[in-house]
């Protein structure tokens, strides 16, 4: 949003007053739309979830006691406000289960993000350095898997990774292994599933920042005697950093809450926060506690990212 504001501000150098006003209005509208989007699709749902997290379970429809009932007017609202309780949040601290689940999810997401970066960077680099005529085709190939259902693609990996699956059959027929590898239902399978599923989210932002890069800088470095690997780390990689950050965030954030891939490919021993939330919501029918789990997850994700973005913005300003 800050970017939009920055680019929109200097463009108010029009001649007539009404035109200027109109343009100002349009500019403001452009800024307002994303904020409205955030308000309706992020803040309002978040407040609803937060409200449920402060209530208690009940055998009723819906299955929790009402909190902050606005129907009684301001006095009822204030009375409700005094009754707010954070029991559900203290509950989460009393059992190591929740903490472990958060940590496991963050670790799995971090490792998967690193792996996705390692796999995705060469792909994006190759695409960006490919002749301009075939780049659209390559881009198409990256997007193509989206045309098949995500669920079916994850299911397909069961067929590939299972003990009698395609991978083991191939390796055994080539006499590379004599015993089938156990991959399905392990953490390895989860990493494979996440890297495969989220690869396009890593490749696309990387590609867009690598493609814009001025390659003559690398040529200049090499002319001045810098070895290719040195030139990569000194020039290409730092210039692609915005793409790296965007790609990593796009992979890391959904991977933390991932439910389908660990469920289908991972073993039962995998304790991730998505499954814990599912248990609270569906097995215990405890909507308030599951809402509290979701609120904490959101805080765990957004607060570090907000600090990170602030730090980045500061670094950029200093860089100027």
């Amino acid at each position: 949003m800050a970017d939009i504001a920055a680019t929109a501000a200097p463009s108010t150098q029009t001649t007539t007053l009404p035109a200027r006003l109109a343009k100002g209005f349009v500019n403001r509208l452009v800024i307002i739309i994303p904020y409205l989007w955030l308000l309706f699709f992020f803040l309002v749902p978040f407040i609803i979830v937060f409200k449920i997290s402060l209530s208690q379970t009940a055998i009723s429809m819906p299955p929790y006691t009402p909190v902050l009932d606005f129907s009684d007017g301001i006095s009822g609202f204030l009375a409700g406000f005094r009754e707010l309780n954070f029991d559900n949040y203290t509950w989460l601290t009393q059992d190591a289960l929740y903490f472990n689940a958060y940590v496991t999810s963050l670790v799995i997401a971090a490792i998967s993000t690193m792996l996705t970066l390692i796999v995705g960077y060469p792909i994006a680099y190759g695409m960006a350095r490919a002749p301009a005529t075939i780049r659209p085709t390559l881009l198409m190939l990256v997007i193509l898997p989206f045309w098949t259902s995500f669920l079916i693609r994850v299911y397909a990996w069961i067929g590939i990774l299972k003990p009698e699956g395609l991978l083991n059959q191939l390796l055994m027929s080539l006499h590379i292994i004599s015993q089938p590898l156990v991959i399905l239902n392990t953490y390895t399978a989860i990493f494979i599933g996440i890297v495969y599923s989220y690869l396009p989210f890593m490749v696309l932002p990387l590609y867009s920042s690598l493609e814009k890069m001025d390659y003559s800088l690398v040529e200049a470095a090499e002319d001045l005697g810098c070895p290719p690997i040195g030139a990569f780390w000194k020039i290409t990689f730092p210039l692609s950093l915005p793409g790296v950050v965007a790609g990593c965030l796009l992979v890391f954030i959904p991977a933390v809450g991932e439910f389908v891939i660990p469920d289908l490919l991972g073993g039962s021993q995998t304790l991730m926060i998505g499954k814990t939330l599912w248990n609270e919501f569906f097995s215990n029918r405890d909507w308030p506690v599951s809402s509290a789990v979701a609120v904490i997850l959101l805080l765990v994700l957004t607060i570090p990212i907000m600090f990170f973005q602030q730090a980045q913005a500061k670094a950029q300003e200093q860089g100027r």
Binding site: S60, M61, T270, F281, S283, R285
Partner: protein, 365 residues
């Protein structure tokens, strides 16, 4: 004149269309049932007979259905939850009492089943049985024979005895990811009351399950259907109907996989899928007509012949295929039925203990 005639006929056509449209709109019933759980010709026959259009929608887990019902305003007229879910949903005020005067076919129901469903729905006031089954052992006949040297398994011992289960580890063991189905089985195997909510008993069940945990490949409530059918696993604790589905898929695939299902001799848990009408159902009269139609002996027998589950309709048994009626894994004999047990839904506190115990068994944490 001609113009006037044309005008009149156009008006009448328009009016007929309009009234016909309006009529059809009145006579609709929105049914929400498990996926792949009815012979679709039954729905067509119902519409032909009554003129009521059926909007048929499916779900694949009780949890999804329950969430929709608890949130309210689902718009469904007939839903088919399992009895243990139904019991709690009744308490939450999700359903309305059935007007029995509109359900003359209720006299066809089977008292053996109605007595048991009354534990969940006292007096069967809110629901009517659709299908029922058991929680038992699905197995790959060849692989289990090879591993254990017995061509048939008929006891929980094959699962709860670590020495036996260890032999099946390599060919693969799946277990329902459903504590309400597995913990009572463990209690039954230990000779305890499967309905026990005492923390001591639950701890004993936990201990028994932790002993065999190393030999279990995965806890999952649906993957075992395909895994059994493909020959990827050799033993699964599963719902009878799912195992029959796996058996049929294996037969269709003709890969030489033969699937058996056994109701353990110590006793197995029964499950019931019950037809009920949500309190806020928009088409109650049509819903009652639909439920009544589903209790017609020929109709429900047709459904059983298609989905291969036993139904709770005594009068329908003469129309059920002999092969299904005589298959004791579908319709257990009177002796076995006596040993089958039902499990009452847990109160929220016990539910928490059960879920927590289950997480520990499954994930080790």
């Amino acid at each position: 004149m001609i113009r006037k005639a044309l005008w009149l006929s156009a008006t009448s056509v328009f009016l007929t269309l309009f009234t016909a449209g309006g009529h059809a709109e009145d006579r609709v019933v929105n049914v929400y049932n498990w996926s792949d759980y009815i012979d679709s010709s039954i729905i067509d026959d119902f519409t032909k007979k009554t003129g009521i259009k059926v909007v048929y929608d499916t779900f694949d887990s009780n949890e999804i259905l329950e969430t929709k019902l608890l949130a309210g305003g689902s718009g469904y007229d007939v839903v088919v939850p399992s009895a243990n879910f139904l019991a709690r949903q009744i308490q939450a005020g999700v359903f309305q009492k059935l007007d029995k005067s509109k359900l003359p076919n209720i006299s066809n129901m089977w008292d053996v089943i109605s007595e048991r469903t009354a534990k969940y729905d006292p007096g069967n006031e809110y629901s009517v049985n659709y299908m029922w089954g058991t929680v038992g052992l699905g197995y790959n006949v060849k692989k289990v024979t090879a591993a254990l040297g017995a061509d048939k398994i008929d006891s929980w011992d094959v699962f709860f005895n670590p020495d036996k289960l260890a032999k099946l580890k390599d060919c693969g063991v799946y277990v329902l990811d459903s504590p309400a189905d597995i913990i009572p089985a463990a209690l039954k195997y230990l000779g305890l009351d499967p309905n026990s909510t005492s923390p001591d008993d639950i701890a004993k069940a936990e201990e028994a399950l932790l002993k065999v945990r190393p030999y279990i490949r995965k806890f999952h409530s649906s993957e075992y259907i395909n895994a059994l059918a493909n020959g990827d696993i050799c033993l699964a604790i599963g719902w009878s109907g799912d195992v029959f589905q796996a058996r049929n898929r294996a037969e269709e695939a003709k890969q030489g996989v033969e699937i058996g299902y056994s109701v353990p001799k110590e006793g197995a848990q029964m499950w019931f899928d019950q037809m009920a009408i949500p309190a806020d159902a928009p088409h109650v009269a049509e819903a009652l007509e639909f439920i009544n139609y589903m209790m017609t002996p020929e109709v429900i027998a047709k459904s059983s012949n298609y989905v291969l589950y036993a139904n709770g309709n005594k009068a329908s048994q003469q129309f059920v295929d002999k092969a299904i009626l005589e298959d004791t894994s579908v319709y257990p004999d009177a002796e076995t039925i006596k040993k089958l047990y039902t499990v009452k839904p847990y109160d929220p506190k016990t539910q928490r203990v059960i879920t927590r115990t289950w997480t520990k068994i499954v994930t080790g944490q």
